[in-house]
């Protein structure tokens, strides 16, 4: 294993690596839960995202604490911590998006009674499909981050993996521009209604930007270990 070259003989490093792996896997789960929650308009699944974010926070704290308790050579520690912090920012974004989604209630002038049973919240219809595609691609890009991390551990060439992440990021950017073009045509009744929709779109489309930063950081860690 690539990391063997810089590992000390105790198990602190191994624990950190396992925790980082678990952290990224949890992120994939959070993104997928969010995607399913939106797809099925399921409030429970959306609420689960916050629970997963809390678990992610706890893993992040454990990783940082193990690193500063002596895992890895000192010159590597800041980069590893930075990587974990970047991944944690994605958890925060997904959690924000989940809360914003729950805030998208049917406006007061609509027939709430009629809508309550089947659909008491939701994304504006003209951009619903595209938002769904973004959440799907967010799951894919997170999986790609995990693949990139595993490749780094094996000392493999990362260029094709990071390219794949950049392709996903570009694709999501293209969809974002389509969404922004459509969203301008939607009538908004009040400031908060518009702000919630706008913030929600900003949150789901920013995930890929941060994952791209995280993959760049994996590249930096990989280079610094050579």
């Amino acid at each position: 294993m690539f990391f063997d070259k810089i590992l000390s003989h105790d198990k602190k490093e191994q624990r950190v690596i396992e925790n980082i792996r678990e952290h990224i896997k949890l992120l994939c789960t959070a993104c997928n839960t969010f995607r399913l929650g939106i797809g099925k308009n399921n409030r429970k699944l959306i609420n689960d995202v916050a629970e997963l974010e809390r678990k992610g926070d706890s893993i992040r704290r454990e990783i940082i604490s193990n690193i500063y308790n002596g895992a890895f050579l000192p010159y590597l520690r800041p980069d590893l911590c930075k990587f974990v912090e970047i991944v944690d920012r994605v958890f925060d974004l997904i959690e924000d998006a989940a809360f914003l989604y729950l805030s998208m209630e049917i406006p007061e002038h609509a027939n709430r009674e009629e809508n309550k049973a089947s659909f008491f919240m939701g994304i504006p219809e003209p951009v619903k499909n595209e938002c769904g595609r973004v959440t799907f691609l967010n799951v894919r890009i997170c999986e790609m981050l995990l693949i990139t991390f595993e490749a780094m551990l094996k000392g493999e060439d990362l260029s094709e993996k990071t390219l794949a992440i950049r392709i996903y990021e570009k694709k999501i950017d293209d969809i974002k521009f389509n969404i922004l073009e459509e969203i301008r045509k939607i009538d908004i009744d009040n400031f908060w209604e518009g702000k919630i929709v706008s913030d929600f779109i900003a949150a789901i489309t920013r995930v890929s930007d941060i994952i791209e930063d995280a993959s760049d950081h994996i590249q930096i860690i990989s280079v610094s270990m050579r």
Partner: protein, 134 residues
């Protein structure tokens, strides 16, 4: 990998009765290289007009694009596939038909397009994921 995962949904339409100039304006404004052509009001029949059609069938011949109708230079019918088809199947069809883009439909409605660049992107991602490309 399914085509719906990687298709581009930014597709724009033009009516067959409109002029080639109208089509050019739409392509320039939207920065796209093809438009789906509607041949009747029910939108059942579709064709396609590309930047290539405009260049070689109108501009290169010194014709006035305002006097040429879209229907005169559009290709019809378009090749389309279901959104649940795989990227591999789409690539095979594009290669067999020697075309640069293929439209994606859902219940007979055009919902997206897969271009050569989309195919390249999808193939690179499949490689990075360790999946068989073609």
């Amino acid at each position: 990998m399914k085509v719906q995962e990687f298709m581009t949904t930014n597709i724009k339409f033009v009516d067959a009765e409109e002029s080639a100039y109208d089509a050019i304006e739409k392509m320039v404004d939207r920065r796209i290289r093809s438009l789906v052509v509607r041949f009747n009001k029910k939108n059942i029949e579709h064709g396609v007009i590309t930047a290539r059609d405009v260049v070689f069938k109108v501009l290169a011949k010194g014709l006035d694009p305002k006097k040429i109708r879209v229907s005169d230079i559009a290709s019809k019918p378009i090749l389309s596939i279901e959104q649940s088809m795989s990227i591999k199947e789409a690539a095979a069809l594009m290669e067999r038909s020697n075309i640069a883009r293929i439209f994606v439909e859902k219940s007979k409605n055009i919902i997206g397009v897969i271009s050569m660049v989309d195919l390249m992107d999808a193939s690179l991602i499949m490689r990075a994921r360790g999946e068989n490309v073609f």
